[in-house]
């Protein structure tokens, strides 16, 4: 597909692999899928009438239509109409991510479009730190924001802050250690069913006291986490965050998306919250009551 600049002018991350097709038939990769886009370079290429093509691309028209829906939803003042827009968004998400099983990468891209307050330079800095780490953290932040949306948090500014602050906190982890060590420790902590004092030392190595105090990154449902908060003391957001944080590792980007994981019951979560999410994602005619939670 030939690249049109208007398709990507509002994007920060590349929606697919962008190649420059030379006259001699060779393809030069300009931007990989998920990389931060260099708009200036691409514009130069297009002005010079170079042949740029987009391959392995996401369905950008779907993203655009979803974004326009989300804008309408956020601008709606009347609760009844807001709920209608919300229904439509959830239905589209269900079709695309559960029925069509689109990738988590596409899910992240949509979340970034909906909720992100970061600019190009921030994203570039994150990717520069470590692409794998960034990919995992974006998956967590995206899943967290969308699950909050499903659970009934309807204020768009709240969701946006949730996404941004989560990604920021996650990217701030391990600032004093090597990226490889950080990834190892995150993976180790992720695997722990419950924590002990040795694990707490590991936590203190990678997380500042402020992050430990303000986030649920190192908590478990049994209350063995660093702040010793059990599932009964957590609210819905905290419960789902603990589950999502444990769900994502440093795996390939094309793993099953979070909605599929929820629908298939693979997400290790408190049964009440999981059932609530499954009920919302389940295909049935929604009513005023069901959409509220």
């Amino acid at each position: 597909m030939k690249l049109d600049f208007k398709h990507i002018k509002d994007e920060i991350l590349s929606p697919g692999n962008i190649f420059w097709k030379k006259n001699n038939g060779t393809d030069v990769l300009i931007s990989k899928k998920g990389d931060v886009l260099n708009h200036e370079l691409i514009q130069k290429f297009i002005k010079a009438d170079y042949n740029l093509v987009l391959e392995d691309a996401m369905d950008l028209s779907f993203h655009d239509s979803m974004f326009s829906l989300y804008v309408r939803y956020s601008e709606e003042l009347f609760m009844r109409d807001k709920i209608k827009w919300r229904e439509e968004i959830i239905e589209n998400l269900r079709v695309e991510f559960i029925d069509k099983k689109k990738s988590q990468f596409e899910f992240n891209h949509l979340a970034w479009k909906f909720f992100s307050q970061f600019n190009n330079s921030d994203a570039a800095a994150f990717i520069e730190k470590d692409k794998e780490l960034f990919s995992r953290n974006v998956s967590i932040a995206s899943s967290y924001a969308f699950c909050a949306f499903l659970l009934g948090y309807y204020e768009t500014s709240f969701l946006s802050n949730l996404f941004t602050s989560t990604l920021k906190n996650l990217m701030e982890l391990g600032s004093s250690v090597q990226v490889l060590t950080l990834k190892e420790k995150i993976e180790y902590l992720r695997m722990q069913e419950s924590f002990n004092s040795e694990d707490f030392k590991c936590v203190e190595e990678i997380a500042s006291p402020a992050i430990i105090k303000s986030t649920m990154l190192f908590e478990r449902y049994d209350g063995s986490g660093i702040r010793q908060i059990n599932s009964r003391e957590m609210n819905d957001l905290e419960i789902i965050f603990v589950a999502i944080n444990r769900n994502f590792g440093f795996e390939c980007e094309d793993s099953a998306n979070i909605f599929s994981e929820i629908q298939n019951g693979n997400l290790v979560c408190v049964s009440r919250t999981l059932k609530m999410l499954q009920k919302i994602l389940y295909k049935e005619p929604l009513t005023v009551i069901t959409v509220t939670g």
């Binding site: 006259n23 001699n24 038939g25 060779t26 609760m79 009844r80 659970l151 009934g152 948090y153 309807y154 204020e155 709240f158 695997m191 069913e193 209350g223 063995s224 660093i226 702040r227 010793q228 908060i229 009964r232 003391e233 957590m234 609210n235 819905d236 905290e238 590792g249 795996e251 019951g265 693979n266 290790v268 049964s271 009440r272 059932k275 609530m276 005023v288 009551i289 069901t290 509220t292 939670g293």
Partner: protein, 830 residues
């Protein structure tokens, strides 16, 4: 840590045999009446062991001493224990303990659970409506639920607005057909306990059957849980719990040692702040008295302090509160609600309210048209204001109790030396002494202020068992006698009061109060006497039942055993459910763990595979990759060359085809020309023939003219001439047509010849038949140009191949460098 694994609670001996004791026994608690050092008690019930201060207390009755109120962390009334649904709720509360969640409990295994997050106060109404609609669909009492939600969410939003966080209020609700449960959860920076919601706690508890406040210090989360039963018969069943989960230090034990499998959220000495609920005055008569008291004060205040007093017309309802700010006992102002306030205001507006009896009664009737007031007016007729007020004050809660009756006899006196017998219908059925003793004991027990009149040693009916036959008669007599006596006393008093008041037109406040208090006392005595009678009757019935039960002790034991078995079965079922839940969670955890282990194994195997190959091999791989890339590039080049060859071949073939086509066209044109020439020659021959024929005909005509001899012959000649002329005309026309055709053919020939000439002279076509040839020639030109480009590209590609080869060499150099670096790093790591 205590080694005592028994589940113990402290309870009074009275409650131990009541449904309360039985309930806790069935739950598996051991009931103790005395505090034993070293034992760990989960909680204390009611006023048992008042010396124990470090264990939370559950209040069952209203009459708990004020000292113990700070220890109370839960209140459950009798109706809750009486109902099956209430017992089931309490059972799961105490059984699930720290895991208990009201909304989960009534969610039909999470199928009917809903969650709402409210960000803005503006949307509150919409969400309350949605909850109420759900309750309405499920046929619950929506008025109480709506009131509760309005008050609770208003309170919650006030708390949220005052706190630093901007988290929305989280509302979850569920229902299972028998009860509707709502839980409101909010972030709250600071929680000072129940006093913070003193203004609305009464409403919360009165509107709901179950109300629970829990504050989690660690997460600063306040949770208000409420439940409403569908069954209207359970409206009076109440259970309230006030729990705070304290902040545990980070180095403290993660889990408390579990002393037993049953423990509650109330236990473990969690500091619980609780303030007993103040009594709500609902009796309109009492409200009237309170209103009157305050109205008196205001009136007095206006007369004494204000100079001149503000005109009544200018007073507003809020001025009542302003006046009452000067009231000496401010704690009594708690009794004032909006109704009392309005009452006070009405009384103030009518300035004559305490001067004239009739007017006052009218005021009262106008202000509060209560049946009791009308009854008083009817009975008392011409009695004084104080009497009416005192009767209003002393009215029982229900007018139909029959306390206002006309009776004959003497009214009571404060210092009466002896008791006057009253003649009653059944009084003679009882012996004088018995009646006297019983009556004295009852009076003495209930009211010590009447010592002068009724003070005697208390002799209760201890030997009732032996006197069961006479007792019924005695009770009846006593009832009649006491009612008559009280009525006599009352009437006497009233008569005295009326006389006094009628004689003294100006009644002093002192006298009024004294008389009122006397009337109150009499009323109290009457209440107490009636209660005693009822109690005695109840005791008697109970005794009779006990006698009957003695005969059926075995059957009762069996029944009790059966009921306890059923309860234990229920608890086992609950346990099973909890175990199943835990099992499911555990299985899920195990599944996830297995998946993770598999993933890890896969990773390890892949890592092993990676490690098993030496780094050189990996470099070789890279080299191989590069070579593969080179090969692919070469293959692409070959392909491009092939394409070029094919294009050139095609171009040549196309040229040959074009030439052949042109030759064929020329040949056809030549053929056409020959044909046209032959046609022209034929036409010329025909023309010559026709000319010769015409000449012959002319000669024949000349001959025939010369021979003109016979007319007939002339006619024949004329006919022949006509035929010949017509033939001639036809031939001439034919000739003309042939000439036209000839001309056309000649023109065509000329055109083709000129085209042929032009095509021969110049390649660009003039002849339309040669257009395709021109296009083809153009294409040929383009193809030749492309061929030239393709050859240029081939050259460029060759150059690029050279570059790639150079890059390959560079890469290999880099790889060798990296190898060296890796070797160094390995050394360092080693």
């Amino acid at each position: 840590m205590s080694t005592d694994l028994k589940k113990k609670i402290l309870i009074t001996a009275e409650l131990a045999s009541s449904p309360v004791g039985v309930f806790f026994q069935d739950l598996g608690f051991e009931l103790d009446y005395k505090y034993v050092e070293g034992s760990e008690y989960h909680f204390v019930i009611d006023s048992a062991c008042p010396e124990v201060k470090n264990v939370p207390r559950l209040q069952m009755s209203e009459s708990l001493s004020a000292e113990l109120h700070p220890l109370v962390c839960g209140r459950i009334n009798k109706e809750m224990f009486d109902s099956e649904q209430g017992r089931a709720l309490l059972s799961s509360y105490f059984h699930d303990a720290l895991e208990f969640d009201l909304v989960d409990r009534y969610s039909k295994e999470m199928s009917n659970i809903y969650s709402i997050k409210i960000h803005e106060y503006l949307n509150l109404g919409y969400f309350i409506d949605s909850i109420v609609i759900e309750a309405y669909k499920a046929k619950f009492d929506i008025s109480a639920l709506r009131s509760y939600l309005n008050t609770a969410l208003n309170f919650s939003f006030k708390k949220v607005e005052s706190s630093s966080s901007t988290m929305p209020v989280d509302v979850s609700y569920s229902h299972n057909g028998e009860a509707f449960a709502v839980q409101i959860s909010l972030l709250c920076d600071e929680w000072k306990g129940i006093p913070e919601m003193e203004s609305c706690i009464d409403e919360f508890t009165s509107l709901t059957n179950y109300f629970d406040i829990t504050y989690f210090h660690k997460t600063n989360r306040l949770t208000l849980s409420a439940l409403v039963f569908k069954n209207p018969a359970l409206k009076s069943a109440k259970a309230n719990f006030f729990t705070e989960v304290v902040r545990r230090s980070a180095d403290a034990e993660i889990r408390r040692p579990v002393a037993s499998d049953i423990y509650s959220g109330l236990v473990f000495n969690e500091p619980v702040r609780y303030q007993a609920l103040r009594q709500v005055i609902t009796d309109p008569a009492s409200k009237l008295v309170i209103a009157r008291k305050f109205a008196h004060f205001i009136k007095d205040y206006r007369q004494r302090i204000e100079d001149p007093p503000i005109p009544l017309g200018k007073l507003l309802i809020d001025d009542v509160i302003n006046y009452l700010a000067h009231y000496p006992k401010q704690e009594e102002l708690q009794e004032i609600d909006s109704e009392v306030k309005h009452f006070i205001f009405k009384l103030l507006m009518n300035d004559r309210f305490s001067n004239d009896v009739d007017d006052f009664v009218q005021v009262v009737m106008d202000s509060y048209p209560h049946g009791v007031v009308r009854e008083i007016q009817k009975i008392m007729g011409d009695k004084g204001l104080e009497d009416i007020e005192s009767i209003i004050a002393g009215q029982p809660l229900k007018a139909e109790d029959g306390f206002i009756t006309r009776v004959r006899g003497n009214s009571g006196e404060n210092s009466r030396p002896d008791f006057q017998r009253v003649s009653g219908s059944d009084a003679t059925a009882m012996s004088d002494n018995d009646l006297w003793e019983l009556r004295k004991s009852q009076l003495n027990m209930k009211d010590h202020t009447h010592d002068h009149a009724h003070a005697h040693s208390t002799q209760s009916a201890t030997s009732e068992e032996s006197r069961s036959e006479n007792e019924r008669w005695k009770i009846q007599d006593l009832n009649n006698a006491l009612t008559a006596e009280a009525a006599l006393e009352k009437e006497k008093l009233e008569a005295e009061f009326s006389q006094k008041i009628l004689s003294q037109q100006k009644s002093s406040d002192l006298v009024k109060e004294k008389l009122e208090s006397q009337m109150d006392r009499i009323k109290k005595i009457m209440y107490q006497l009636k209660k005693e009678i009822l109690k005695l009757q109840a005791e008697k019935i109970a005794r009779e039942e006990a006698d009957r039960n003695k005969k059926n002790t075995d059957a009762q034991d069996v029944l009790r055993m059966k009921s306890s078995m059923e309860r234990s079965l229920e608890t086992i079922k609950n346990k099973d459910y909890a175990i199943e839940k835990m099992k499911k969670d555990f299985e899920q955890f195990i599944k996830s763990k297995d998946q993770r282990i598999e993933m890890l194994e896969q990773r390890i195997s892949s890592m092993k595979n990676d490690q098993s190959h030496p780094r050189e091999a990996s470099n070789d791989d890279k080299m191989e990759k590069l070579e593969h890339e080179n090969k692919s590039l070469q293959f692409k080049l070959e392909l491009a060359n092939k394409k070029v060859n094919i294009v050139t071949e095609k171009m040549g073939q196309r040229e040959i085809d074009m030439n052949a086509k042109r030759e064929r066209e020329i040949e056809t044109l030549k053929g056409n020309l020959k044909l046209a020439q032959s046609i022209i020659e034929e036409m010329k021959i025909e023309k010559a023939k026709l000319e010769s024929r015409a000449n012959e005909d002319r000669e024949l005509l000349k001959k025939s003219k010369e021979e003109t001899v016979i007319k007939k012959a002339d006619d024949e000649k004329d006919g022949i001439i006509q035929v010949l002329t017509s033939e001639r005309k036809g031939l001439e026309e034919k000739f003309r047509a042939q000439a036209i055709e000839l001309k056309k053919a000649e023109q065509k020939l000329k055109y083709t010849l000129s085209q042929l000439e032009s095509s021969n002279k110049k390649k660009p076509a003039v002849n339309p038949n040669l257009k395709s040839a021109e296009v083809l020639s153009k294409q040929l030109e383009q193809a030749s140009a492309r061929m030239a480009e393709a050859t240029a590209e081939v050259i460029e590609k060759r150059r690029e191949i050279v570059k790639v080869k150079q890059e390959n060499s560079m890469m290999s150099a880099k790889i060798t460098e990296l190898e060296k670096k890796l070797a160094n790093l390995d050394k360092k790591v080693a």
